[in-house]
């Protein structure tokens, strides 16, 4: 009994000693009122208003408020969920460079990246909660009757664990207990990578969808996560230092840009070979789908924004143009969004049943989909939520590296 009380007290003391700043609404409104900052603030508020509107519409009309259909059951919200969790995994990888793998140059971004990984996955969960038809049932039966052969079960469960580890790691980082941070960071990273490759497996396991089936997505997801993490690292550091980086940040970001150059080159190599193998031999349901994808503007948006522009900026100055990299990273994130959207949409392009079933119609060809206003509002709302949580975090915690070590 006495032991339990003692344990409770030590937990209480542990929580009470987490360093944070006491802030109120006034502190949140207290930021430099430059036109750029005001623009970001107004956009964030607008996105949050969209979130409320979108969720209200969903609660009134359910999935009928979305443009998802029997032929295209996964829509924009799934793509946006993937976008956020990829961002989270990527930030976790970037954050781990310093505090898990011990690369000193990257320690200055660890805390910020780990906090970023927490807010991005929370935004992802906020979005997916309105896509899953029965989220409460999910929480119950995920435990009571787990589907162990389901990649969604593994992905969801591992991401839940991952979030817990990330929070614990962040707390230890705040407390400057680097040993424990390293332990939970490594565990969180491994669980996160497993969760993320399972997310790729959700698509890779689809025997019925020849274009997605196979090993490509589970591995590609890890690669694109790292790329996304570096893009966000540039964006976060760009805002933090208003593009006037101190020397240590310059060293770190230049190194990150070089790594990014390598990763994007590997990505281009991967994607090129995916399309070559998809098209070669003219295999039905694969070659025709791949050729159709090559004709879509969203694919080229992904290629230009997430691959070609950032790679060009990196190669031009060997990663030293950090302001250019900040803007290229914004372009990259828009490209990454298209990457996720394409992945979800392209998987469902080809109808599974190719015969017509009612008179006065044509036989099914390609499945069309364009998101509804409700889907768009909830998605933008997720982004608003992410920016808001991150902003609150910058006020609440010291996300810069501790100077006393």
């Amino acid at each position: 009994m006495a032991e339990t009380i003692q344990q409770k007290q030590s937990i209480k003391e542990f929580i009470a000693t987490i360093p944070f700043n006491k802030i109120g609404i006034k502190d949140l409104l207290n930021f430099e009122k430059t036109p750029q900052n005001m623009l970001v603030a107004v956009i964030t508020l607008a996105f949050l208003a969209f979130f409320v509107l979108g969720v209200a519409t969903y609660l009134m009309h359910g999935h009928h408020a979305y443009n998802v259909t029997r032929e295209h059951p996964w829509g924009l919200l799934i793509a946006v969920y993937i976008f956020f969790v990829v961002s989270s995994t990527g930030l976790c990888i970037v954050g781990s460079l310093g505090d898990v793998f011990g690369f000193k140059d990257y320690e200055m971004i660890s805390k910020r990246a780990i906090f970023g990984s927490i807010v991005t996955i929370m935004a992802g969960f906020a979005v997916i909660a309105f896509e899953i038809g029965h989220p409460v049932t999910m929480l119950i039966y995920n435990v009571l009757s787990p589907g162990l052969t389901s990649a969604i079960w593994w992905m969801g469960t591992l991401y839940g664990l991952y979030l817990t580890f990330m929070i614990i790691e962040f707390v230890f980082l705040l407390k400057h207990n680097m040993k424990m941070a390293k332990f939970f960071g490594l565990t969180g990273l491994l669980v996160g990578l497993a969760a993320h490759s399972n997310l790729g497996g959700v698509f890779g396991f689809l025997n019925a969808r020849t274009i997605s089936n196979g090993v490509f997505y589970p591995t590609y997801f890890i690669l694109t996560a790292f790329i996304t993490g570096i893009f966000i690292a540039f964006i976060m550091m760009g805002f933090r230092y208003k593009l006037e980086f101190p020397e240590n940040a310059k060293v770190m970001l230049t190194n990150l840009a070089k790594i990014q150059g390598l990763l994007i080159s590997i990505l281009i190599f991967f994607v090129t070979w995916k399309f070559l193998t998809d098209i070669y031999g003219d295999m039905p349901n694969r070659a025709d789908v791949a050729i159709h994808i090559l004709g879509s503007w969203t694919f080229w948006a992904e290629v230009v924004l997430a691959m070609l522009i950032p790679l060009f900026i990196i190669l031009k100055d060997m990663g030293k143009n950090l302001t250019g990299m900040f803007w290229a990273s914004l372009s990259g994130m828009v490209g990454v969004f298209f990457m996720r959207y394409n992945l979800v949409h392209d998987t469902q392009l080809k109808p599974l049943q190719m015969m017509k079933t009612t008179e006065y119609e044509l036989a099914p060809s390609w499945v069309n989909y364009f998101p509804s206003m409700t889907e768009i509002m909830i998605s933008l709302g997720g982004l608003g939520l992410c920016i808001l949580l991150y902003y609150v975090g910058t006020k609440l915690f010291n996300l810069d590296a501790d100077t006393h070590h």
Partner: protein, 187 residues
Amino acid sequence: MARYGMALDYKNCINCKACEVACKEENGILMGADKHRIWVGVKEIEGEYPFLSIVSSSFEPSQCQHCDDAPCQEVCPTNATYYDENGVVRVNAEKCILCSYCMNACPYDARYVDDRTMTVDKCNFCSDTRLARGETTTACQNTCPTKVRTFGDLDDPNSEISELLRTREHFSLKSHLGTKPKLFYLT
């Protein structure tokens, strides 16, 4: 315990859609709910007059294939999709979270969202009605005027379906995917 399956003498189908109507009536499917549970696919005549390929035209009645290795069951995160004691692939609506993974995984497009329960449903070989009453029939099979459908126990060597599968050539849809469907198309 049985292992129910269905043989379809699909070349006899006249696309009268009596099976769809009977299924709707039996299972309380909403009016106007297109392709819920069962449907008849139409392949139209190919070619241009006068070189029309009349053999290219066919009707293909279809529904859930009640696979022995059902992808929809494998991907279900809460085991809402399950095999019952008769090998019928069924859905426990209470456990369904409407993640729609089964809709994406089913190679036969056999899963649909039931707007009343907001869960993903499918054909269950009339397990809630006829099979529950001890009958070995389904509504679609019972009503078919050209006797396209033969329903029965695949494990019973004396059943009509077993006899048919022994004596008639047949194929399964998308069998290369390894799903082992229990719907057999007689040629």
